[in-house]
Symmetry: C2
Subunit: 410 residues, 2 copies
């Protein structure tokens, strides 16, 4: 029997109020296919999860949830365990009992789901009974595709294909996604400072080199102080320069006309997170006040040097820039708070140790409360005055920059 | 209390015949320093090992051995457990009971130790008693430095300093050791074939890039098919080209005059093993006969593809080159046979997963029986006709090449 890692399975979460019929819908999907390949590891006694192959749509993990009654009340900003499970879904199947009609809680739940940008489809269940008036209203209000269904006489095959067709596609994005073509020269500026790990390169550097080679591009790697020499020894300007964020102001004057510039962190923001959201997050900086609390979230647990970037440098730079007396809290590794509304700003590391999906889950949590999130590199480039030069290759980020309030643009 | 990893401790092995006084010498060394920093992990009940700080010479692990009586008889090519422990020493302290005189076995043991190139010093023990005639003869015969000593009235301090001063220095070698200087351009040719790990670079490539940056050199990374384009776009020829072994014949025609060429494997052979020994190992290739057995030793346990370099390609290439019906055996991971005399040749991987010391231990085992050992890259360059071009940067390897029998040089 082939073993499929949990991370390769798309997570489908069945959600709704207590009597909406979540379990019967999930069982219809699970029973549709005889090929349940394996009970999900560790959950054989747990009836609410089923790992299976969903028709031609690939491996999935079906997850039933406790009822979401009274959970999503507007204004309740704490993310409950059930809601957190929702945010980890690749697809939420939200079920409303059409015969009973919708509740206000349904509408609040769907608002929350939409705010978090989690993909969601709807099932108007119990179609064998007469539907109550306007029972699909919350789906319509939040622009959620839905079908009606009955576990008594419904089309199970149609249900499976409705769900399968709405599963999000595999992300095909990469760090450099589409920036380089065959024969292009890219210069990567890698200052070797005290924080650099001994004897090796950090992950985004290795990935960027490998991706460039995969695309038949030519990679030049040098320290910042060699950049001018490198450019003078080439017959033509490079297509792109990627620099470590901390060297960006030393690199900027040496960038030839026509050469694009960006940073490893900005590539990570785009690949792992959402660059436009992070550029938008900069809007809060001119509004920061004495006593505001800022969360610095670092996903890896490296040993902290005396001049650690997250613990020491960023708080210092931000305090210098804003001239405010700011409070900093720190989260490390897999810890990320359920509640982020108390923070005026979240400053996240480059997320090289997080999967794209894990970073997206964090962005969903911040999106729920509208809490601004930037990453180290976006912030550092901003504080150093290197915006918008380093985001010029990315139109969606330039759009976000142009929409920042005047006070935030220098 | 500071914890020191086993691998950072230099291993001092006290060896000799059963009544030579090994334990009393070791105890004199151990007792000399009150600062026994920690019992060696897992060996607190094992009286034959002591981890300690040896005066100003750093952390060591003292190891007593069972007597080596009758172990090293000439012609007995099997490496016993006790002998294997010897080969893992950073320094062997070989003890002869001067009052009893030496045995033939002492001479045989020391011959074995010298053959394996393991550093060794001698103690002529029991100096409080009258020495038997010629008791130091085996030390003199094998050019081993020695002192006389007595655990009754000897100079313990002198003993400690004799041992400490003979500990081998930390290896300061690196992959590129001394090949590059500030501003030099090095081109690394990295063909991305089916065997390349997905999305990343292999260790020697990452290390070579990082070392070059540490030395303020400029690194260009490209596929082999881009090499000509890269060189044409530079104002000056590069100082050095390092290629993957398998691309060496495609790279060779594009190397500008005055540019040095080598391969990642040859750098590994030099860094982790002994390049001259491996070049010398090529001498056996024209002598291979039908039915000869060859060991292919791979230190990592990667998944084997259909065209695996160690399992498939190298046996095929060698059979084609020699036109002989050769037998191949395989060892993987940490397995390496105690007995290698049955092999006509050992072909070792690049050893990126082995420490320098572990690779040296393997070379000691092969040196004992004079079994030729080459690594993948040295062999591939040879079979492809790229010798001696790729070893030209290394005088000691060129010397070994020039001393190969005529039949081995093409």
């Amino acid at each position: 029997m082939q073993t499929i890692a949990q991370s390769e399975r798309k997570v489908i979460v069945f959600a709704g109020l207590r009597n909406a019929g979540k379990s019967s819908v999930m069982n219809a999907v699970a029973g549709q296919e005889a090929s349940i390949v394996s009970p999900f590891a560790g959950t054989t006694t747990d009836p609410v999860r089923k790992a299976m192959e969903l028709a031609s749509y690939g491996p999935v993990l079906l997850t039933d949830t406790a009822g979401l009654d009274d959970e999503g009340a507007v204004g309740n900003l704490r993310v409950s365990t059930a809601q957190r499970m929702l945010l980890q879904a690749d697809l939420i199947v939200y079920i409303i009992d059409g015969s009973a009609g919708y509740q206000e809680t349904d509408s609040a739940n769907l608002k929350l789901i939409k705010q978090s940008n989690t993909p969601c489809i709807g099932i108007l269940n119990k179609a064998d009974l007469p539907f109550a008036p306007k029972s699909a209203a919350p789906f319509i209000e939040h622009q959620i595709s839905y079908i009606s269904y009955s576990s008594i006489n419904g089309d199970k095959n149609g249900l499976v294909h409705f769900i399968g067709a709405n599963l999000p596609a595999e992300s095909s994005e990469t760090l450099l996604g589409g920036m380089l073509h065959r024969g292009d020269i890219v210069i990567m500026v890698v200052p070797i400072d005290l924080g650099a790990p001994k004897g090796r390169l950090i992950k985004p550097q290795v990935y960027a080199i490998r991706e460039s080679l995969d695309g038949d591009a030519i990679v030049i790697v040098c320290k910042d102080k060699e950049l001018r020499s490198v450019i003078s020894r080439l017959n033509e300007p490079p297509k792109l320069i990627i620099t470590d964020s901390q060297a960006v102001m030393r690199v900027l004057p040496d960038v030839p006309k026509g050469t694009q510039l960006t940073t490893f962190s900005i590539l990570s923001a785009r690949f792992k997170g959402d660059l436009a959201v992070m550029v938008d997050g900069l809007k809060v900086i001119p509004e920061l006040e004495d006593g505001d609390t800022i969360l610095i979230a670092e996903a890896c647990t490296h040993h902290e040097g005396a001049d650690d970037i997250g613990r020491v440098k960023i708080p210092r730079w931000l305090a210098n820039f804003t001239k405010k007396d700011l409070k900093f809290e720190f989260s490390r590794g897999n810890d990320f708070p359920d509640t982020v509304s108390q923070y005026k700003l979240i400053i996240h590391c480059g997320a090289c140790m997080l999967t794209q999906k894990a970073m997206h889950n964090r962005l969903r949590i911040t999106a729920l409360t509208g809490t601004p999130l930037v990453n180290y590199g976006v912030l550092i480039s901003y504080l150093q005055g290197a915006m918008p030069s380093v985001i010029e290759p990315f139109p969606e980020a330039i759009l976000a920059w142009n929409e920042l309030p005047e006070a935030a643009v220098y």
